[in-house]
């Protein structure tokens, strides 16, 4: 298992390097940060001077190397836009995104699994079929539109929930949390629904189909033939087996939640890293973009690794080949 993890970590590091390289090659096309850093009355000379100062006149491979050099030491450079160390900015913004992702993730997983199990067990029930069809509405509209419609309904028309931001936050040793204030919790509702809806639908449908697959397995029939109670059959036997493939996808979805937070955060002005990234694109804040992409990759890779390790606990067979299709 240790060898396996080491190999995975090695692969992950490679993935990170590639992601970083690709990302860096992209930055040249996002635009030129210089115009955003200089005012209307700049001269061409100013532009060239600043460009040289930032090292933007060098080939991107060199820029990438310098970035890596710094990143290894935990130094992601200084934001062009804010003039502050990127690591500091990211740390400041991360709690907002992580809390949002966590709430949406938990909502998506809880409701996804519950509804998935329900629709699988009551496969032919009218209510289950209504849920199945209705759930598709959530994935048939773009997220940003759902967010805007939610704001329109619950903030503007009904005035129940705040239209943007995180509300009041409490600082817990560098981690600003919105969980401890009423306004913070209220502010979480709309964004987490917006963000979690898609993932919930996905998880629900996946759980349902995996569960149906499991329910027709011999060992489920055998469990029934032994007269086990439905609850035991469905949850102790079927759900546990269902979770094996589902966990991979959930792991990936958690990463996707953080990535999709870009859109939700833009719509709700949620002060997280996704919003930071979108702003960074707008202002071609290369150090921030690079660090964000690395952060996302690290998270993804970490989640994947975690999922792999989780397998060892869930599935005693320690199957060597889990990468096959579901």
């Amino acid at each position: 298992m240790l060898a396996y993890i080491i190999r995975r970590v090695g692969q992950s590091a490679l993935v990170l390097l590639i992601v970083g390289l690709v990302a860096f090659s992209m930055f040249r096309f996002v635009g030129d940060p210089i115009d955003n850093m200089l005012g209307q009355e700049r001269t061409v000379e100013d532009i060239e001077r600043l460009r040289a100062q930032l090292g933007l006149d060098q080939p991107f491979v060199v820029q990438y190397y310098k970035f890596l050099e710094g990143a290894v030491q935990g130094n992601f450079g200084v934001s062009y836009r804010q003039g502050r160390p990127v690591a500091e900015i990211l740390l400041e913004r991360a709690p907002a995104t992580l809390e949002l992702a966590m709430v949406s993730g938990v909502l998506a997983i809880l409701f996804g699994i519950a509804l998935g199990v329900f629709t699988a067990i009551r496969r032919d029930g009218v209510f289950a079929n209504v849920i199945m069809s209705a759930s598709l509405i959530g994935v048939s509209l773009p997220t940003f539109l759902i967010g805007i419609l939610l704001i329109y309904l619950f903030s503007v028309e009904l005035g129940w929930l705040p239209s943007f931001g995180r509300g009041e936050t409490v600082d817990l040793g560098g981690w600003s949390t919105g969980f401890l204030t009423e306004s913070g919790l209220k502010a979480l509702i709309l964004p987490s629904i917006t963000l979690g809806l898609y993932q919930m639908t996905l998880i629900m449908r996946l759980v349902r189909s995996e569960m149906l697959e499991v329910l027709r397995q011999d060992y489920i029939r055998f469990a029934r033939a032994r007269g086990l109670r439905d609850r035991a059959v469905n949850f102790r036997h079927a759900l546990k087996n269902t979770m094996v493939p589902v966990i991979t996808v959930i792991g990936l979805q958690l990463g996707a939640i953080i990535a999709f937070a870009i859109i939700t955060e833009t719509v709700f002005q949620w002060p997280g890293v996704g919003l930071l990234f979108i702003n960074a694109i707008q202002f071609v804040d290369i150090p921030v973009m690079a660090a964000y992409l690395m952060l996302i990759s690290v998270m993804f890779v970490g989640i994947n690794l975690l999922v792999d390790i989780l397998y060892f606990f869930i599935d005693p067979r320690l199957r060597a080949d889990r990468s096959g299709g579901h």
Partner: protein, 314 residues
């Protein structure tokens, strides 16, 4: 299970389904039938847009700005013209724009899914059949791909393509880049399913037999293995189509979608959401409802198809 085993090549699941049960279950599922009708109507009206649409919104010369913001079925205050679904900020007939926009959305969606499908099937077949290093490389690439959220992949590709395409082609390029971006972020699941199925199929007797009589790997993959993986692929393709259409809309919200001179449904929604509070509801509502109807019907069809093509679940 067969008590008296006779070594016959099993018919592909797809074939069997088409022969016997598919149409039957279709007829029995009102949801599937309604969805199919909706999809058919929408696709037809998109394809026939030049014949149906009252105006060609992609021809800037035909637009009259003074027609802008005309409410549905109400004569414009300046020009006196009236439009079935009103007009947008450029004076474009919303109905025509939706028809033409749906063309772009569908084209992008279908082409992206087709691209992802071809790529995914090819790589999946190869990695499943050949194995070894080839497999490792392909599946690790897939992992890397999965490591990266699809919208970021798409934004990345969009950025790069925008940079490397000669400026004069950028306008036409946008759509092809969208196809490439969505397709590339989507091939992995095809590859995984096909690889998994290939691993199972390649050890079956009929494939062994085909190999023994000297069929080339290519022929075996195409003639024997491929037909057996087609039904899950078809299901994934259908659902991917809906996802691709939505993905295109999302990308256009982030400013990397179809250009506003040739708007897709997603671009129309992005433009329309700016008018949500200003009272010009029709600019948002009609494209949004069209997108919802299209994506929902395709999704429902995919859903039904999955159940219908999976004989084990029936």
């Amino acid at each position: 299970m067969s008590d008296f085993p006779i070594p016959v090549k099993p018919k592909s699941r797809l074939r069997i389904a088409l022969d016997s049960d598919l149409f039957y279950t279709f007829r029995r599922s009102p949801v599937a039938m309604v969805s199919a009708v909706v999809v058919l109507v929408l696709v037809l009206s998109a394809v026939l847009a030049p014949l149906i649409a009252p105006t060609n919104p992609f021809n800037p010369a035909s637009l009259n700005l003074m027609n802008g913001f005309t409410p549905p079925m109400t004569p414009n205050a300046f020009t006196g013209e009236s439009f079935f679904m009103g007009t947008d900020d450029q004076g474009r007939d919303v109905f025509s724009t939706i028809l033409y926009g749906m063309r772009i959305s569908l084209f992008v969606g279908v082409a992206a899914v087709f691209f992802a499908m071809v790529l995914g099937i090819t790589l999946g077949l190869i990695s499943g059949y050949v194995g070894g290093w080839t497999e490792t490389i392909i599946m690790r690439t897939a992992d890397v791909q999965l490591t990266f959220p699809s919208i970021l992949v798409a934004m990345l590709i969009f950025g790069i393509a925008k940079g490397v395409t000669p400026v004069e082609y950028r306008d036409q390029m946008a759509i092809w880049v969208l196809i490439l971006a969505i397709g590339l972020s989507d091939w992995v699941q095809f590859a995984r399913v096909v690889r998994g199925a290939t691993l199972v199929e390649k050890n079956k007797e009929y494939v062994q037999a085909a190999r023994l009589i000297g069929r080339t790997p290519g022929a075996i993959m195409l003639r024997h293995i491929l037909p057996n993986v087609l039904s899950p692929v078809l299901v994934i393709a259908t659902i991917s189509l809906a996802l691709a259409i939505i993905a295109e809309a999302t990308l256009s919200f982030l400013g990397v979608g179809a250009p506003p001179t040739q708007p897709s449904l997603g671009t129309l929604i992005r433009i329309g959401q700016g008018f949500l509070f200003s009272g010009e509801w029709w600019i948002l509502l009609f494209p949004a409802v069209t997108l919802l109807a299209l994506a929902l019907s395709v999704n429902l069809l995919g859903d039904w198809l999955r159940d219908a093509l999976n004989p084990r679940l029936r």
